[in-house]
Amino acid sequence: MKKTYLSALFRHLTLLVVVLSFAACATISSFDQYAYAQTTSLKVDALNTMDLATGNYSTNEKTIQELQTKLQKAYEYEKNRPKNEITLKMWTILLDSNGHLLGGFITRWEKEQKLNAVFIQEEKKIVGDAFDQIAGLESQKIKPTDIKTN
């Protein structure tokens, strides 16, 4: 009786060690509902702000600043998630002010004050797809509930 109890205890302890070892060596961060919601919400804000680029940058400066603050907060959140290097690199490319996605678009808008409507629509498609890639990666990450063993 005692032997059976000890062997069951040993087996459960072994299982616990295996579970903890696997959980400890996850390769990439797990799904984060807040990060996903934030990405999709910022996509809408960013595309709406880009529509304003047919007008003067200075006239829309307050809206642009508000968007940039939200983007910075999202970036900081992503930066502090463990094992999140890939998503962070994607955000870095999207927001790079010397690049050609959202960050670069805002830089160009500030420099030229107004942008061409057709160009804005084409650029919006690319920036929208870039947001979708970040959200798409997040949505494929393993949900914490799926890490259960049974």
């Binding site: 062997s7 069951a8 087996r11 072994t14 299982l15 295996v18 579970v19 696997f22 060596c25 996850a26 390769t27 990439i28 890939i86 998503t87 690199k89 994607m90 490319i93 999207l94 790079d96 690049g99 050609h100 996605l101 670069g104 160009r108 061409n116 057709v118 160009f119 084409e122 650029e123 498609k125 690319i126 920036v127 797809d129 870039a130 890639q133 970040i134 798409g136 990666l137 494929q140 990450k141 393993i142 799926d146 890490i147 063993t149 049974n150």
Partner: protein, 105 residues
């Protein structure tokens, strides 16, 4: 208490590995093809818009560079998906082991 069926476990792990890899390759190939097709279509549209004077040469150059950066992001996304598949594989092995051990009780 019975003994652990290591052959059964190995067969399970092999099935899990091949199905995971197959799914990943199918998804990555489909995403890559989709992006290349959209690049081809976009360049054609932008070229027409340039000829019609709807966008400038600077706009065109900016859009091409933006597309290049979007492709870099796609590469990163695929790298991320590969890592997710590795984690799913590890999780699958864990479930197999647990199931096998539970069968012994």
């Amino acid at each position: 208490m019975g003994s652990i069926d290591f052959n059964g476990l190995l067969a399970g792990v092999t099935t899990l590995a091949s199905s995971n890899l197959k799914d990943y390759l199918n998804e990555a190939t489909a995403d890559g093809k989709k992006l290349l097709e959209s690049l081809k279509a976009d360049i054609q549209i932008w070229n027409n818009e340039l000829v019609e004077g709807k966008i400038s040469a600077t706009d065109l150059e900016f859009l091409i560079m933006a597309k290049k950066e979007e492709m870099e992001m796609e590469g990163l996304k695929q790298a991320g998906v590969a890592e997710i598949k590795i984690d799913q594989f590890k999780n699958g092995i864990l479930k197999l082991i647990v199931k096998t051990l539970e069968g012994l009780t």
